[in-house]
């Protein structure tokens, strides 16, 4: 256990602060649609040109190879400067596809894709879930048959965030229908403008259309786009899910801390539920604000614990699910508190600073990327060593 601020950290923080002051976009980020995606890409491009993208990526892949401690300082300054939310339409490419390509891609794949992800030239989406494969992801059935130098893909994917703005997709397909379900899956780079790909946006309960259903009809993808080996896709996919459940959400955690501070300021200056006293004078609100403050701090603390484990050389393990579960449920509590603070004003969708819409949008957090129930299974079985749940076979 140790806490010290090095000269390197101090200088880095100063530089980050100065650059952010001069470069953070003045206009607010549009809440959804292509306008949001355009905004995200322009902002990412500016960070890339300024040398502030891919801070913790290895140098040989276009990053700066900085330790996670400095990455954390960057996010602290980022939140402090009230820069546009970092978890945006580029999330899959930056935090998912790129780490996968770094871990398992060929040198050609890495050379072609990584810099284009970092500079936001290319937008990526995920192609994992299917109508019949949600929590039971390995039940996926989108079929890919080898034909000469190509895979021929037929089937459909769902909940594909930003599919309609994306250039590429991390696509899981079934290449061996006769193998046990985890063994016959392949991870392949899909191109969204290939003939036979049909993308249909789905409107969500908060009014956005960021996620899509994608249909594949005899889509030909070259075998050179397979990441890892044919039929080894499950392992390739899981290695990056561990990453997502660990430190990838650091930026958002720090933004959440800032958000809680904004709630406290709001509660000091605005009437509470009884319409007479300021909200912060209300005991229930007070207690919830204190809990939110303490818990967002604890969220940062468990992330620091993850970073400490990474520093020791531990690979991301099942404890990443602890961070993810706590983070997503806390986000919902905090945004519900924001909604409650605005009283009847919350009935307007954009209401105060979009807090009502954000409250609705948080519903996805405990579903997307592995539900809370799946996270609890992972914690129970892989972290605590509890037995797997009994599987009752059909007809038994």
């Amino acid at each position: 256990m140790e806490l010290r601020t090095t000269q390197e950290e101090r200088l880095f923080r100063e530089k980050a602060r100065t650059w952010l002051e001069e470069n953070v976009p003045k206009e607010p980020r549009p809440p959804h649609g292509r306008e949001a995606n355009d905004h995200d890409r322009a902002w990412q491009r500016r960070q890339f040109d300024g040398g502030w993208a891919g801070l913790s990526w290895p140098k040989e892949y276009g990053g700066r190879g900085l330790p996670l401690d400095l990455q954390l300082i960057w996010f602290e300054e980022y939140a402090r400067a009230e820069a546009p939310e970092a978890t945006n339409t580029l999330y899959v490419g930056l935090n998912h596809a790129a780490p996968t390509l770094i871990a398992s891609g060929t040198p050609e794949q890495q050379a072609f894709h990584l810099e284009k992800i970092l500079s936001a030239e290319n937008v990526w989406c995920q192609g994992f879930s299917e109508p019949g494969a949600g929590s039971d992801l390995a039940a996926l059935r989108t079929r890919a048959e080898i034909d000469g130098d190509d895979l021929v893909v037929n089937g459909s994917k769902i909940w594909t965030s930003n599919g309609h703005y994306s250039h590429y997709q991390e696509l899981l397909v079934r290449t061996d229908p006769d193998a046990p379900k985890h063994k016959g899956i392949t991870w392949v780079i899909g191109q969204m403008d290939l003939p036979g790909v049909d993308i249909r946006p789905i409107r969500n309960m908060a009014g956005g259309d960021h996620f899509c259903e994608v249909f594949y009809n005899d889509v030909r993808i070259p075998l050179s786009s397979v990441v890892g080996k044919v039929n080894d896709g499950w392992r390739v996919a899981m290695s990056t899910l561990g990453f997502e459940r660990g430190t990838a959400s650091m930026a958002h955690q720090i933004e959440l801390t800032q958000f809680v501070e904004n709630l406290i300021d709001y509660a000091r200056d605005n009437p509470g539920p009884d319409g007479r006293r300021m909200a912060i004078e209300d005991d229930t609100i007070r207690s919830r604000l204190a809990a939110a403050r303490a818990e967002t701090s604890a969220l940062k603390a468990i992330t620091l614990l993850s970073i400490s484990r990474a520093r020791r050389g531990d690979a991301p393990g099942p404890e990443g699910s602890i961070t993810r579960l706590f983070h997503t449920e806390l986000m919902q509590r905090v945004h519900r508190l924001a909604y409650d603070l605005t009283g009847s004003g919350g009935l307007e969708m954009e209401g105060h600073r979009g807090w009502s819409r954000q409250y609705l949008e948080q519903m996805r957090q405990t579903i997307a990327g592995g539900t809370s129930e799946i996270q609890r299974n992972i914690i129970g079985e892989r972290h605590l060593g509890l037995p797997r749940q009994p599987v009752i076979a059909k007809g038994a």
């Binding site: 007070r286 603390a301 400490s308 299974n377």
Partner: protein, 329 residues
């Protein structure tokens, strides 16, 4: 750089203490169905004095061992795990406050174990003494203050039946004019970290206890831990333990470095740790089913201690107020 894992040296201190407690104060010492005799707590306190625990974070020239808040907090976690009487923390705090006040001889008596201390807790205008026995000194944490009283400041002691069967409880009235030492803000931080540390230790203990039971208890032909209803409760215990531990260690380091947000982080630690301890000890009873409700099971001892510890720092309400006042990072 913030590193929240113990280094080899720190781990050695923790292991030595855990070894001593496992050997001399195993949980089996607590007859869960009976009130615990005061003499048994005195024996454990004596063993800890032999190891120099009460002066762990005091400099060597003040009669201490010369470690810091990090090591001391890690040790508090171990003491919480073994349900050591909070008088161990009281002795640590009393010794530190006396040393600060230049009363080295009295501090040495506490560190050596020839004198003992206990905690007080406010009850309206009166006070509770927790594990009073023959304690020479009384530590009261209230609001933003920590105060040390001589035993003489307490009026007559009236024994009351305590919630926690492992520890005696008395009502008295402290004569606040007789304060021996007003502790510094640093001593208040130390007290909060020690108490939060004990909460984290017992949170981790009941997480392990519940998981162990869920692996061996069978119903419907399966260990109950195979069922999601139980597995998910166990997962929540693991989340509570991990968050409480991480927040505590971060707070301890921030306190040691005297960061501007140290008070904020420490109050967040007391709040998170106490909520975790109370929720986890309740859930542990539920996971144990009928046996968890018996006096025979140790599950209730952890629950009761989690509640007792809360009042050593003036209750959750006071933590929330202090947290809202504190300056965030």
């Amino acid at each position: 750089m913030i590193h929240l894992l113990p280094d080899a040296d720190q781990q050695q201190v923790v292991d030595a203490l855990a070894g001593l407690l496992q050997d001399r104060a195993p949980l089996e010492r607590l007859k869960a169905s009976e009130r615990f005799p005061d003499t048994a707590n005195a024996e454990v306190l004596g063993e800890l004095a032999g190891m120099g625990i009460y002066g762990l974070a005091l400099p060597e020239d003040a009669g201490g061992v010369g470690y810091g808040p990090a090591e001391e907090t890690l040790c508090a976690i171990e003491m919480g795990r073994f349900l050591v009487t909070p008088s161990a923390a009281a002795a640590t705090l009393a010794a530190a406050m006396l040393a600060d006040a230049g009363r080295g001889d009295e501090a040495a008596a506490l560190i050596g174990g020839s004198a003992t201390a206990c905690f007080a807790s406010m009850k309206g205008k009166r006070h509770y003494l927790v594990d009073a026995r023959d304690a020479a000194l009384i530590v009261l944490v209230q609001g933003d203050h920590i105060t040390l009283y001589p035993r003489a400041a307490a009026g007559s002691l009236q024994p009351v039946e305590g919630l926690d069967w492992t520890i005696s409880l008395h009502q008295t009235t402290l004569d606040t004019a007789q304060a021996a030492v007003q502790g510094s803000p640093a001593r208040l931080r130390q007290a909060l970290l020690l108490i939060a540390g004990m909460q984290v230790g017992l949170t981790e203990a009941v997480c392990a206890m519940a998981v162990d039971y869920a692996k061996i208890r069978e119903q419907f032909g399966q260990p109950i831990g195979a069922f999601q209803a139980i597995k998910h409760k166990c997962a929540d215990l693991a989340v509570a333990a991990e968050t409480a531990r991480a927040q505590l260690l971060l707070a301890a380091l921030a306190g040691a470095a005297d960061l501007p947000e140290a008070d904020f982080l420490i109050r967040a630690a007391t709040l998170v740790a106490t909520e975790a301890a109370q929720a986890s000890t309740r859930e542990n009873i539920q996971i144990h089913g009928g046996i968890g409700y018996t006096a025979e099971s140790r599950a209730h001892l952890f629950l009761k201690r989690a509640h007792l510890n809360e009042w050593l720092f003036g209750g959750l309400w006071a933590q929330r107020e202090a947290l809202l006042r504190a300056k965030a990072a």
